[in-house]
């Protein structure tokens, strides 16, 4: 079947199986920044945005995404690089596999809450599992990044 999507602001028509998941479609298009982890909607590495909301692409049927705007890590490269610098500075990047999903969740948090507290950060990042880092460094990195963004916009 044919499905029309808007992927990273570009309209695409894809030919899919009825039970194809969005991660299969996106990785089939070469968008390999969308990582395949648990494949059961539990780990968050496959996080993308659909119409501005964070979702799990391993669990999203592509057919149900007809007409929707999908944003992957490839579509937010500049912001991802900026956040990445803060993650690296806190020693969070180890295997790096969870990072694309984590970055997408951080961007989603930023779009939802103007001045998130630590509780807000934990709430929004709860669905992104990391086997390497222990999460403390990520929390510090996110705090520092958000503060830097606030200072930028205050100027």
């Amino acid at each position: 079947m044919e499905v029309n999507l808007i992927i990273n602001k570009k309209p695409r028509t894809v030919h899919i199986r009825p039970d194809e998941t969005l991660i299969e479609t996106l990785r089939g298009l070469g968008l390999n920044g969308v990582k395949q982890g648990c494949d059961t909607g539990s780990c968050g590495v496959c996080t993308v945005h659909m119409d501005g909301k964070a979702i799990l692409s391993c669990t999203q049927l592509t057919a149900m995404a007809e007409g929707r705007g999908i944003t992957t890590i490839e579509g937010v490269q500049q912001q991802a690089e900026q956040i990445g610098q803060y993650l690296v500075a806190e020693g969070v990047e180890q295997c790096g596999y969870c990072s694309p999903g984590t970055v997408m969740s951080i961007l989603y948090l930023e779009s939802c809450i103007a001045d998130p507290s630590d509780d807000d950060i934990l709430h929004y990042l709860n669905g992104n599992l990391c086997r390497c880092s222990g999460y403390e460094g990520q929390l510090r990195a996110i705090r520092t990044y958000l503060e830097a963004k606030r200072n930028e916009s205050d100027r």
């Binding site: 909607g41 799990l56 391993c58 669990t59 049927l61 709430h123 669905g127």
Partner: protein, 259 residues
């Protein structure tokens, strides 16, 4: 992963009912979260996104929650009745999954593990079907074999005084070993327990004791009057043992204390 032969975009509720009645292996797709976890063979997957069921409407009695409303939509709604939903779903995996999982699919499927279902029952929700009409959620949950039907919306009463919820889990985002919801409205209480591991059910005796201000007796009633079971998460006797404590914690978290 479930397999789907054909994907159908439904244009009317009548079309959905017709397909469900004519094809026993047709299924409505909500968020689709559970497709990954099973091996069901679906001949026709019915997409109901265009039927306008993704709205939360204020009604005279309270709110009408369309079947395609997601947990994320519930979390973002202001108001104290939605505080209960916020408490119930906050530990369900993550914001991403909650932006996908729908109220309709959860309630229709009568999942025993569901935190949302327990809160819905404590709120006194009624469920609205295309053919079966409207009924209290506890009646739907206790049906032996409901007919193949289409859940359109869930209605919940408005203003509540207290919405308490607590669940015991091994880890933050895991299924609950047991969940308890207690809601006070117009001075009356409703207490529901889920993850038994059976479906959520009401405990009338606990509600009566709360109305008399007897928290200890209400908590004890859960263990004495309800049935529990064993699954991979916990044994029956463990659930029975923790049930009173889970209710007390739920109430303490919202400032309801007492003997």
């Amino acid at each position: 992963m479930a397999s789907i032969q054909t994907f159908i975009q439904a244009n009317s509720m009548e079309e959905v009912v017709e397909i469900l009645q004519s094809d026993r292996s047709a299924a409505i797709i909500g968020g689709g979260a559970y497709l990954r976890l099973g091996k069901k063979r679906i001949s026709k997957a019915i997409n109901i996104q265009k039927l306008g069921l993704n709205a939360i409407e204020k009604t005279q009695e309270g709110y009408r929650i369309g079947a395609m409303v997601t947990y994320g939509d519930l979390e973002r709604m202001p108001g104290n009745v939605f505080d209960g939903f916020r408490r119930a779903v906050r530990d369900n995996v993550g914001v991403q999954l909650r932006n996908m999982v729908t109220v309709g699919a959860t309630v229709f499927s009568r999942y025993g593990f569901s935190d949302l279902n327990t809160m819905m029952m404590a709120l006194g929700a009624t469920v609205e079907f295309a053919q079966m009409g409207t009924m209290p959620i506890e009646d739907y949950f206790s049906m032996e074999r409901p007919m193949r039907d289409f859940l359109i919306a869930v209605n919940i009463p408005g203003d509540v005084e207290v919405t308490a919820f607590h669940a015991l889990r091994l880890t933050t985002t895991d299924y609950a070993i047991l969940n308890v919801a207690a809601v006070q409205r117009d001075g009356r209480w409703r207490v529901a327990v889920g993850g038994r591991p059976g479906r959520a059910c009401l405990c009338m005796e606990a509600a009566e004791q709360l109305e008399n201000g007897h928290i200890y007796q209400a908590a004890t009633a859960l263990a004495e009057k309800l049935t529990f079971g064993t699954n991979r998460l916990a044994r029956e006797d463990y659930r029975k043992c923790i049930a009173p404590g889970v209710l007390r914690r739920a109430l303490e978290e919202v400032g309801v204390h007492g003997g």
